[in-house]
């Protein structure tokens, strides 16, 4: 076989189920206390710093990291359980989600010891929020076209340029960004970009909110003007960011957040149709559940491979491709079936309100964090076509 794709059937270990119970109990308490409304999906509007600290106090942030940095040295599968339970409950994870999933692991791998000791424990306590500075006004999917300059100066670099579509930049304490330190070479157009840690909320950085079609202001334009970054904030190899990018993708692309973004409309539909659905509704729900179950099993399988120390980049890209296309279509399929919901269903208004929001959210799902086209290019490369 040319394509040795593997999705072994991973069973979550017993300790995951105990953890799942703890997370559910914690979330039930938070809901009871009024921290968030699980039926209200637009969690992006909700910045919940206190909730973030309480999640940290539970030991559920940076769970897989070494204890000396505040981590718990627990498995990716345990982290997976926490992530999916938070997502399904519509918990306000915005403040810690990026740091926990992505920024922390980058720091662990590339940051100097003093920075690790400073920042990682604070991520684990739920105290700091991270943003990712990749896209620019003229470089989106084509990451290596980035132009924002980092010019060498005494003891560090001066940053000039603009990042855009940067989620959470308006509340972030830090950003991990790529800046141009050299021009690309003839042989390698990916050469010349360097990954940096940026401390936000300082002079020289201006954050301008950008309105989204959902009515939210979740992403931003971030303008750097002669902003100074010290030498020890360089992450990894100068000019060599391209070598560091790919291995992170498996973490970023295969998690439960890649198919559960609009899940709430399915739950609400099941509530609306009641215990005795007509044939059309039953078939529609059955197919959606079968598809959801399959994707989750694929996603858990990738988590298992990550736990085993593998880098399943192609498998992770497949999960994100199928998962995001599914969660994008889900509100529309639920809308099809909602047409048959009885007028008397008590949650009709909730379902309609959720559909309204999910339908507006849907277009972004196949764009953020790697477009469908980019993913299919990566899969094609894995198949030996490029």
């Amino acid at each position: 076989m040319t394509a040795a794709l593997r999705f072994d059937p991973i069973r979550l270990p017993e300790k995951c189920e105990q953890l799942r119970k703890e997370v559910r109990a914690f979330l039930a308490d938070e809901i009871a206390a009024g921290t968030f409304d699980p039926h209200k999906p637009n969690r992006e509007d909700t910045d919940a710093p206190e909730f973030s600290r309480r999640v940290g106090a539970k030991g559920w942030l940076g769970m897989t990291w070494p204890k000396k940095y505040g981590g718990q040295e627990r498995s990716f599968l345990e982290r997976y359980v926490v992530t999916e339970e938070m997502r399904v409950a519509n918990a306000p994870t915005r403040r810690f989600f990026v740091a926990d999933r992505q920024s922390g692991p980058v720091l662990l791998k590339y940051a100097p010891e003093n920075i690790k000791m400073d920042i990682l424990p604070r991520i684990c306590r739920g105290e700091v929020c991270f943003a990712i500075g990749m896209s620019e006004p003229n470089s989106g999917s084509d990451l290596f076209a980035a132009k924002t300059r980092a010019t060498k100066t005494d003891g560090g670099y001066l940053i000039n340029g603009t990042k855009i579509w940067t989620s959470s930049a308006h509340i972030a304490d830090y950003m991990i960004a790529i800046f141009r330190t050299s021009q690309p070479t003839k042989e390698n157009r990916r050469h010349g970009l360097t990954q940096f840690l940026v401390k936000m909320k300082q002079p020289g950085i201006q954050v301008n909110p950008i309105g989204q079609i959902t009515g939210q202001y979740e992403f931003n334009e971030v303008v750097f003007t002669d902003f100074f970054v010290p030498d020890d904030h360089v992450l990894g190899e100068v000019d060599g960011a391209w070598k560091q990018a790919t291995s992170e993708l498996a973490y970023e692309r295969s998690g439960p957040e890649r198919f559960l973004e609009t899940y709430y409309v399915l739950t609400e539909l099941v509530r609306a149709v009641g215990p005795n659905p007509d044939t059309r509704s039953a078939e529609g729900i059955g197919r959606l559940v079968a598809q959801l179950h399959t994707m989750r099993r694929m996603s858990v399988s990738v988590a298992g491979m990550l736990q085993a120390g593998k880098e399943p980049v192609v498998e992770a890209s497949i999960v994100k491709d199928i998962g995001t296309v599914w969660e994008q279509q889900l509100p529309h399929r639920v809308r099809d079936l909602a047409a048959f919901v009885e007028e008397t269903a008590t949650n009709r208004e909730t379902l309609e309100r959720q559909l309204d929001f999910a339908i507006k959210t849907a277009p972004k799902l196949t764009i953020q964090g790697g477009t469908t086209e980019v993913l299919r290019g990566i899969i094609a490369r894995g198949l030996g076509l490029r």
């Binding site: 394509a3 399959t294 094609a380």
Partner: protein, 353 residues
């Protein structure tokens, strides 16, 4: 799913490569390849993998048997291997010994019923029975006034109306009119749904195997075929189609192997196993349609010819959708289960393993 250290799968793959090579079988004018293939499979004990030693089988694990079916799908094997395995498994549920030779199971669909009367005779009609015409015996699940029984009958006792499925394999209607079985025993705690789910997971693994093969030959073909002065694999539109085929193949494999693993490790067919088995059949059937269409699109006209092997996989994968309950049947049943459990019990079910 095939572990490289799985001796059952290794043995089977060697036999398939030697005696069921898809191109050789496709070129053959007659069915003369079938007898040596069946003989080799039988000598290796593979058709009775799921039958314990003391009932005449080779006593392989459920997991090994499922892996074997996945491998059979990768070769589009067109002898009643899966059917005999299922029949042997069904008989073993009632501690009935398996005879030698080809078998299949009745009924092969959730709507058909075979009844057992007070005299111990079997009656009823089963449609879409795979390989009934090739079988020497039938393993039958029958409903009597005391519940479900399992019976072994001589195939010559049934009336067979021969038919072909869309993959050109036998899919026949079997009518039993007061047929006296060779053996019949009550099967406490067993029901027709369990048989359908088991058969559905077997078909899911075969579909997943066929999709793996379709991906493989499509990728290879795209790297050979030149059009507009370059290999068609260099066109982004073709690359993206093949990436989608890889996704469908991966989804089918993940769903089928997960369900197989669930059944192999379950103590009963509870809601979690039901979710796994029905999802596998639903998702694999969807993948057979979407993935098969892409494989054909990549191949162009050559893939639409009888000379090319693609149809051995694409049409069988489509045909297998129909056996032991179609995807729309199971979607309705799964949807009812989910609705009945209630909205707040959906996630706990999905997250159960």
């Amino acid at each position: 799913m095939a572990e490289s250290d799985n001796i059952v799968v290794e043995t089977a793959e060697k036999i398939f490569a030697d005696l069921a090579d898809p191109q050789t079988v496709n070129n053959a004018k007659k069915d003369s390849w079938q007898a040596p293939l069946w003989q080799a499979l039988s000598e290796a004990g593979l058709p009775l993998s799921w039958v314990p030693d003391d009932l005449g089988g080779s006593g392989a694990s459920l997991a090994d048997g499922f892996a074997l079916l996945n491998a059979a799908g990768r070769f589009a094997v067109a002898v009643p291997l899966a059917e005999t395995m299922l029949a042997g498994w069904l008989l073993a549920q009632a501690r009935i010994s398996s005879p030698e030779g080809e078998m299949t199971v009745l009924p092969a669909g959730p709507k058909d019923r075979i009844t057992l009367d007070a005299d111990g005779a079997l009656s009823g009609r089963a449609r879409g029975v795979p390989f009934a015409k090739a079988a020497k015996h039938f393993a039958v699940l029958a409903h009597g006034k005391d519940g479900v029984s399992i019976a072994l009958i001589d195939a010559s006792k049934g009336r067979i109306e021969a038919g072909l499925n869309v993959g050109y394999d036998h899919s026949d209607t079997v009518t039993l009119d007061k047929v006296q079985p060779v053996t019949v025993k009550p099967a406490k705690g067993f029901d027709q749904t369990t048989l359908m789910l088991m058969g559905g997971v077997a078909r899911s693994l075969q579909i997943a195997g066929a999709l793996e093969a379709m991906l493989d030959i499509s990728v290879r073909y795209s790297n050979e075929r030149v059009a507009f002065e370059k290999k068609i694999s260099k066109f982004q539109a073709v690359q993206h189609n093949l990436a989608r085929l890889a996704g469908e193949s991966a989804a089918a494999l993940a769903a089928a192997t997960s369900a197989a693993d669930a059944i192999a490790n379950a103590s009963s067919f509870n809601d979690e196993v039901y979710l796994e088995a029905t999802s596998a059949k639903i998702r694999c059937a969807e993948a057979a349609e979407k993935g098969g269409a892409i494989a054909h699109q990549v191949h162009g006209a050559i893939g639409f010819t009888v000379e090319h092997i693609l149809h051995r996989y694409s049409l069988r994968a489509l045909a297998w959708r129909d056996d032991f309950g179609s995807e729309s049947h199971w979607a309705v049943e799964l949807g009812k289960l989910v609705a009945n459990r209630g909205a707040d019990e959906l996630w706990p079910l999905v997250a159960s393993r």
